[in-house]
């Protein structure tokens, strides 16, 4: 046991006492939240060059409205009210008469002007947009631009033309125009939690409004944190074991340790690294959320499950990866085995969204009870606001404990032989043979 502990200490310190570890510890949350931060930082980075759009209005009712709307928009949205700095492009609407004789030639001319940079886009409004009937081409609205699909002006046009046309149609139906806003009022269906009894007072508590943060962010953050910790604690074992084998360090170590002690030292060392990072992030996260008054968002009930599943996942995958590493003789072998070995973490990554949306579906239930996927999928189901039956995490836990024990046993047998086997690429048939014969 002392020897295993010494091996664990070396593995742990070899990972933790590096600059790379400290940098990673700081950078990881930054990278994880990087896209949000980047979006926030880059929100002001827009092209403020004025955008000219030619409108071919065959309906005869939209063009004037657009001219008024764009004027309003340009007054309020183009300059920052405080600094008077230009923050958005001004839209310039240019009304042109549609060429009914040769519309294609007109479209080509306008397209060429866009290509030359004289124009940003042109908009064609069908003649029947007021009452969309008959052939679809007669009531379509088409926006032509270089990058029309992701163009902000298209969104603005959409949100300006449609409410206007609805109002026109309401008026045409003989309804009082002043009622139009009321008729068109959009009411949001609010997301609410379940009503419960206050344990202290016995009173019925108001249901809480469930936010996207609670429903989505908490499970996703925990899920990705586990993914990251597994990548940090288990993943390197494939590479380091292969290196210890090829650099003949394994032979020296096997003169000091039994093979299963050697493997246990490596796996527990990797686990210790992951747990260190997990404690730092989770304690740091609790402290940070408490400081900014978001303590209610901390899912304390899930934290023990997170650690239980994390330990099992790393022991399971770590043993498998160390065993595979012991069968490799060069970095290429290790590279080839990385993806198949990481399926227990990669596969849940591919399917976590449907599972998060429907955590109680039979698809989610059965997959989360399949031991290789249990740690990650059961965690995300348990963290979702929709409650899952209480027995399921426990059954999943029993399954994953048994499966982990099996993987450790098989891994140990493969490791014992593989670590001394030189030459030749690792073959599944050989590994099965080693696992069976020991």
């Amino acid at each position: 046991m002392r020897r295993v502990f010494r091996m664990v200490k070396r593995e742990y310190l070899a990972s933790v006492k590096t600059k790379a570890f400290i940098i990673m510890l700081v950078l990881m949350p930054v990278l994880m939240g990087g896209s949000g931060i980047a979006m926030y930082l880059l929100r002001g980075q827009v092209d403020t060059t004025d955008k000219q759009v030619t409108v071919l209005d065959r309906s005869g009712i939209v063009a004037d409205m657009l001219l008024k709307a764009v004027e309003e928009r340009n007054k309020s949205a183009v300059y920052d009210k405080k600094t008077r700095k230009k923050i958005q492009p001004a839209y310039i609407i240019d009304i042109s008469k549609p060429d009914e004789k040769d519309p294609q030639a007109q479209r080509l001319r306008l397209s060429d002007r866009i290509r030359l940079g004289e124009l940003h886009a042109f908009l064609e409004i069908g003649p029947n947009v007021r009452h969309p009937e008959g052939e679809q081409s007669t009531f379509s609205i088409k926006y032509h631009a270089k990058n029309a699909a992701v163009d902000n002006i298209r969104n603005w046009l959409n949100n300006t033309i449609n409410p206007y046309l609805r109002k026109v149609r309401i008026k045409d139906a003989g309804v009082d125009e002043s009622k139009a806003d009321e008729i068109m009022a959009w009411l949001q269906v609010e997301a609410m939690g379940l009503v419960s009894v206050d344990e202290e007072t016995g009173e019925i508590k108001e249901a809480k409004r469930t936010s996207e943060a609670e429903a989505f962010l908490v499970p996703v953050i925990l899920f990705f944190l586990m993914f990251m910790l597994v990548m940090m604690g288990a993943m390197p074992l494939l590479q380091t074991t292969m290196e210890e084998k090829t650099q003949r360090i394994a032979e020296v170590l096997l003169g000091c340790l039994k093979p299963h002690e050697f493997m246990a030292g490596k796996v527990i060392g990797g686990l210790a690294v992951s747990l260190t990072v997990a404690f730092i992030y989770i304690i740091g996260g609790i402290f940070f959320l408490g400081k900014i008054g978001l303590k209610d968002f901390i899912p304390f009930y899930i934290i023990p499950w997170f650690f239980i599943f994390l330990v099992l996942e790393i022991v399971m995958l770590g043993s498998l990866l160390a065993a595979l590493g012991s069968a490799c003789n060069d970095p290429k072998d290790a590279q080839n085995l990385t993806f198949p070995a990481m399926i227990p973490v990669f596969f849940p990554m591919f399917i976590f969204m449907p599972i998060l949306q429907e955590p109680t579906s039979s698809f989610a239930t059965w997959l989360s009870l399949f031991p290789p996927f249990t740690p990650m999928l059961m965690l995300i189901r348990k963290a979702a606001p929709v409650g899952i039956p209480a027995w399921q995490p426990w059954v999943g836990l029993v399954g994953v404990v048994l499966f982990t024990a099996f993987v450790v046993w098989v891994g140990g047998r493969i490791f014992r032989i593989g670590i001394l086997m030189q030459g030749g690429a690792p073959k599944l048939s050989n590994m099965i043979k080693w696992a069976i014969r020991g």
Binding site: R3, M7, R10, E251, V252, C256, L257, E261
Partner: protein
Amino acid sequence: MCIVIANAVRQSHNLSVINVLLIGVIRMNVVEIENITKTFGALKAVDDLSLNVPQGSIYGFIGPNGSGKTTTLRMIMNIIYPDSGKIRIFDKEMRGTASERIGYLPEERGMYKKMKVRELLRFYGELKSGRKVNKEVDYWLDKLDLSDWADKKIETLSKGMGQKVQFISTVVSQPELIILDEPFTGLDPVNVETIKNAVLELRTQGATVIFSTHDMNVAENMCDFIFMIFKGKKVLDGTLVSIQDKYGSDTLRVRTEGGISTLKNLDGVEKIADFGQLQELRIAPDNDHQKILSEIMSRTRVYSFELAKPTLYDIFLRIAGPEAKEETDA
């Protein structure tokens, strides 16, 4: 009993007491190998091998590359297991266990390149012995003139220095049985001498040493017993004298005026080895060396001659050299 005495002696570090005690005790076998066989696929690496290594001895393993030396050492170390046969270390079968009483220096050096010298030695020593070895590490670093490199990373060491560090890692836990696979390979003469002296000192302190080598001079000069393995089989085992006695005094070393050109086609001579100024003539069995010498004297002027036993180098070549291969092929 012997081990207890040896341990007490090693701890006392009193060389005069050691010598007296070691001479006085009846040696037991530290390693007992009985009919072991090891096969890798179609290759029989070790074939029905038996061997006893007495406590306190230096046992030299020789043999050509691929003959089964390293496999045998690994089996003694319990790193791999024999397919059949038994190995007893310190009077116990130790299958599946790593013993803190054995130190092992593998043929290819295995060290963490990013670790510092002192840190690595402490790690290996503690891993082996399960206790702190700080004092022992400093003692050996000083002894092998590596103190200035103690805080340098392994990757900065030269090959020779690396080898010395690996040697320290083997002995720092004060094992009773030290197994060294090619400990002198790649070392310059000064470092060979340093390691040789260290090995001899360890033996004086009571340790039993087994080492494999390709250097026949080292084997001749250092080993109490020599064991040769060839194609997995034991072909020699005993003291140098007993091995040489088997071959008898069949070597005539002569220095003549005419040199090699005057020694050709001599009756009763199996083989001539030419060393320029000196020639070694191997006399065929049942031939009189006096007659051969007379024949040489009739051909040329003889400056000096010596009837000698074959060297270990010569015996090695007779067993494993091209000549032996030709005989085997025939």
